[in-house]
Amino acid sequence: MSGYLAYLVFFLIVALTYSIVVMGLNLQWGYTGLFNAGVVGFFAIGAYGTAILTGPDRPELIGGFALPFPAGVVGGMILAALAALLVGLATLRLREEYLAISTFGIAISIQLIGLNFDALTGGAQGLTGIPRPLFSTFGTPGAYNLFYLCLVGTITAIVFAGLQVALQSPWGRLLKAIREDETAAASLGKNPALVRLQAFVLGSTLMGLAGGLYVGFIGYVSPLDFLPLLTFQIWAMLIVGGSGNNRGAIVGAVGVWALWTMSGFAISRLLPVHYQSQGGAIQVIIIGLLIVLTLLFRPRGLIGEAQSVSRHAR
């Protein structure tokens, strides 16, 4: 396989993994209006959870249960859901901002655990040698990556289809109803706090799923893969793609990740050597401007939310 094509496969695996995170965030923000400022935390919980459950046994570590990959991913998702429950129960009855602040806090706490709890997370070195599912079945890394792309692609499609069904169900309509007018929904006997909690936990579980898939692909976890910057990138993907629309979420994930990779490439080529350390800052400023400008001038993103009108009213 030529270099370009191999890189494209690699790029798409990462982009599609992120698109699952973006769909989780879309469920929280796009459909329910919940501001999650700690996306990276839930992604990291899924990743570390999977790594600890599937990793090989090592005497100096608490983890290393050598479970099969699917069990590891499900375990990671459950851990992410529990973390979401902890934050959600504290904040979802209160002012909307409190959820944002708490999610920001949990992401920082997770990062600290990743960096400092050596016996569980391997500390700054991270956990290496995490088995990649079915790796021995494929002869070459190129063939394996192609297989993994199919795997991630299939899971992305399943998540997408599942969310479409859920969002078109009465539950999905209820989410939007609560986002638009909480009092009206409550007056119809619905419980806004409970429904919000469901959407928040489900979205965070999807982020955990993506974290597990990410670990299965790269075969190690390191705290450097879960910097707060990732939260901004995921948000940029959602806002640019158009929140409230899962097709937009996928398009945004691929588009923004392409912009990020290409800008990094361009900066490393064009910037003089002794400015290189500032190159990262320029990349981030591009993302930040993208978010703010999209909000100001194209608040619906590339593909915005489709208007849902009752078929009786049409």
Partner: protein
Amino acid sequence: MLQALADGILTGSIIALGAIGLTLTMGILRFANFAHAELITWGAYMALGALAITGTFAGPISPFSFGLPLVFATLIAVVLTAALALLIDHLVFRPLRSHTSHMTVVFASFGVSLLVRMVILLIFGGSAAYYSNELQIAIRVMPGLRVMPDHVFTLGLTLAIVVALHLFLQKTRLGLSMRALAENPDLVRINGIDTRVVVRWTWVIGAALAAVSGVLYGLTVQLRPEIGFQLLLPLFAAAILGGVGNVFGAVIGGLIVGLAESLSVLFVPAGYKMAVPFFILLAVLYVRPNGIFGALRGGAK
């Protein structure tokens, strides 16, 4: 133990100054401004930039590590930080405040915070900086407790600012309008008060306090582009602990958070210090979401 208490009060007073600005904007403008902590970083670095000009005129005043130059630099930083806050409000927050969901503004502040931090990183670079290279000798107050003169100055200044702000909010017409706007915006408009002016002054005061808090942080710790990012959680914890919109609450909240952070080192490894404000925050939200002194309005729905 004694030393940890003294350090905690110092950190707490810096957090308190930042949290006052945050609690005012949260109470009066009604949104959680994630970019507020970046105003602290901005203020600290603007003073560093200004010091390059003012610093050539005079030396430090003993026993402090700084002199009149830093005082003037701080004044310049206050002006520049207020200018940045007004600029952000004008370009981003005001256009969004009118037409979209309230959380969009919160989210935009998230994006703005990233932009400000990266601009600082771009201009000043990522390594730690200091206002002065003078070494300061800690004074032994009693066995087991050493204090730097700069730290005493920081405490005194914080105290003076809190008292001045209290008098301002209680005795002046503008202070009254600010409190009224936090309490009931509609009633304020009916009374013919120009809310735009009040909002503008809220930004100026919040930004000025943030700048001072940034300079004090730079003076007693060091300058790094991540100051704001690391202070954000302590600030929110302090503001919510004290009750949103409550100035004295923010001060007490700041002291509690600072003390808890510094005392936590006695019980858990220092690496987890940054998570302490988060657990305080969670505890407050579970047990007493309106803060210990009660929020002005709109804590629990």
